[in-house]
Subunit: 290 residues, 2 copies
C-alpha cells in the first residue's frame, strides 16, 4: 500500500493527517474509489467528476482542480508496483479553527490511498452471496444527500454491522417510505420476467458508475430494463438478484434474508449482463490514455 | 493548544493520526466536549457517560475504560497552562483493513484536544443572537440517531453553512414531521406565558447536559417547564427564546429568521435561568474533585 498526501508519497505507517483536519473531526470530506486494471485507473474521469459533484453538493470549495487530482492519481499509481489495485481519493475541507462553520478552513487536504485490490472469490460469482434488508434506514436526501459520497459513512457502517451480525455479505437499506435504495457500497438490481429492474435515483441513492454504464449497455443490447421502486418483497420474490459496484462489477445475490433466490446460483440474465460488462471493461482498456 | 493522542502529549503541529483511522475514513468515531473552569473539567462525569453511551448506541467496542479516559483528560489538562479551556475527547474505532465492517479494527484511538475557550462576547448575553430555521433536516433517529455524538457531523455542518450564509449565529433543524429538534451544537428553548418549553428527546435530538441540568434546576426552583414539540411558528412568536450548551450556558436568541423576539434583548425569564445556572456552576466548582 502507498499513500499520497498533498503530493507526497508515503508508506502506510507514515501517512498521517492532522487531528484538526475537518475530515477527522466532522467527516467533512468527500471521496471516490476506483480500481486499476493492469495499472490503469478504470473510468477515472467518471469517478473524478462524481468527486467534484459530491464536493459541489456539500458546498465544499475545491482548492485542487480535477487536473491536479488526476496528476496526483497518476503519480501515485506510477510510484507503485501494484497493477490490480484499488485507489481511494479523499478530499477534505482541510484544517481550521474547530468550528462547524465550513468557512474557517481555506485549503483542501488531498489523500490518495492505493492498495492491492481485495480478491473476490470466483465462487461468489457462481453461487452468489447472501444479503439482508437492514433495519437502519438510508439517510434521507433532506438530511445528508446519499449523492454526497462523503466521510460521513456511519449510516452505512451501521447497516454493514447488521449484515455481519447475520453472516451476510451486504445490507440493503430502505428509505422512509419503505422502498429499496441501495446496499452499503453497491447498487441493487433484480430480474423479474426477464426484465432488469433497479431503483430510481429519486429513491435516495448514490448514482453508481457501474449502474450508469450497465443501464446504457442493457439498452444498447436491447435488454429490457427499468428504473422502478422496489420493496423488500420484490427482492425476495425476484427471479434473479445482483449487486453492482466498481470493485464487484455484477455480483449475483442468491439469498435475501432467509429467502433463496435463483436456486442458489447465478441466473442466466445476470450472467449475460456480467459478460457484457466484462467486454465493456476490455474495450475501455484499449481506449484509455492518461 | 495541546493534544493527547493515546497518552502522548503533542503540540498542534505534531498531532497527527493515520489516514487509515476509521474516524478519518468514515467518521466512525464518537466525541464529547466540555469546558475547564479554573483548570477543572466541568461536569466531566456527565460528558464521559454520554461518550460511552454514544459508543454503545453505535456498537463501538471500547478498549479504553472510563477511568483510563478520565486519567488522560487529567494528564492533558494538567500538562497545560490553560485554565479556561475547551476539551474535546474523541474516541475512534481505530485502524483496520479499509472496509465498512466495524469488526476489522481491534483498538480504539483516543484523541484529546485542549485549547483556550473561544470567548463569547458579553453583548451576546445582553442583546441576544440571530438564528435561522435550516432547510436541511435533522438526521432521522432511524438513520443515524442524533444521540450518537459521532464524527458524522456533516448534517450539522450543512445547517451551520446555511446560518453563516444569512449572517446568523446558529441554525435550528426540524425533523421530518416539521417539528423543532435542536440547533447544530446547542439545544433550543422558548418561554411562552412564563413557561419554559424545550422539545422532547423523542423529537430526535441529542440529550444536552446543560439542558438536563436546567430542567432539574427549573423544577427545583418551582419554575414552570415543559418538554413539548415546537414548530417554527412557536419560535417566531415566543416571548423569549434561548440556546443552551456547555460552552454557552444560557444564550438569548432575539431573532428567528426575520422575526425579532423579546424586543432584541435578553428576557426576564431567560436572565433568571441564566443566573440560576451561574450559581449551579459555582456550586459545582466547590464540589469537584478528580
Amino acid at each position: 500500500m502507498i499513500i499520497n498526501i498533498n503530493g507526497e508519497i508515503l508508506d502506510k505507517d507514515s501517512a498521517k493527517i492532522s487531528v484538526l483536519d475537518r475530515g477527522f473531526l466532522f467527516g467533512d470530506s468527500v471521496y471516490d474509489v476506483t480500481n486499476t486494471i493492469e495499472g490503469l485507473p478504470f473510468l477515472l474521469d467518471d469517478h473524478l467528476n462524481r468527486l467534484v459533484n459530491s464536493a459541489f453538493l456539500m458546498g465544499m470549495e475545491m482548492t485542487y482542480s480535477i487536473d491536479e487530482i488526476k496528476e496526483q492519481v497518476k503519480k501515485t499509481v506510477q510510484s507503485s508496483d501494484i497493477k490490480e489495485g484499488n485507489i481511494r481519493i479523499i478530499l477534505t475541507r482541510g484544517v481550521g479553527e474547530i468550528s462547524l462553520d465550513p468557512n474557517v478552513s481555506q485549503k483542501n487536504n488531498l489523500v490518495i490511498i492505493y492498495r492491492e485490490r481485495p480478491v473476490i472469490p470466483d465462487e461468489y460469482y457462481e453461487r452468489g452471496v447472501p444479503i439482508i434488508i437492514a433495519g437502519v434506514q438510508r439517510n434521507s436526501k433532506k438530511s445528508v444527500d446519499p449523492n454526497i459520497k462523503s466521510g460521513n459513512y456511519l449510516n452505512n457502517v451501521l447497516a454493514m454491522a447488521e449484515a455481519k451480525k447475520f453472516g451476510a455479505y451486504e445490507a440493503v437499506m430502505l428509505n422512509q417510505a419503505g422502498c429499496v435504495t441501495e446496499a452499503t457500497t453497491s447498487n441493487i438490481w433484480i430480474v423479474k420476467n426477464n426484465t432488469f429492474i433497479t431503483p430510481p435515483l429519486q429513491a435516495g441513492l448514490l448514482e453508481g458508475i457501474t449502474r450508469k454504464h450497465l443501464l446504457e449497455l442493457a439498452q444498447k443490447h436491447g435488454l429490457a430494463v427499468q428504473q422502478s421502486n422496489l420493496v423488500p418483497a420484490d427482492l425476495k420474490n425476484a427471479d434473479e438478484c445482483f449487486l453492482t459496484s466498481t470493485s464487484r462489477m455484477v455480483l449475483p445475490v442468491t439469498q435475501v434474508d432467509e429467502f433463496v433466490i435463483s436456486e442458489g446460483r447465478i441466473g442466466p440474465n445476470t450472467l449475460k449482463l456480467l459478460n457484457k460488462y466484462r467486454e465493456f471493461v476490455q474495450e475501455w482498456k484499449k481506449s484509455f490514455h492518461w
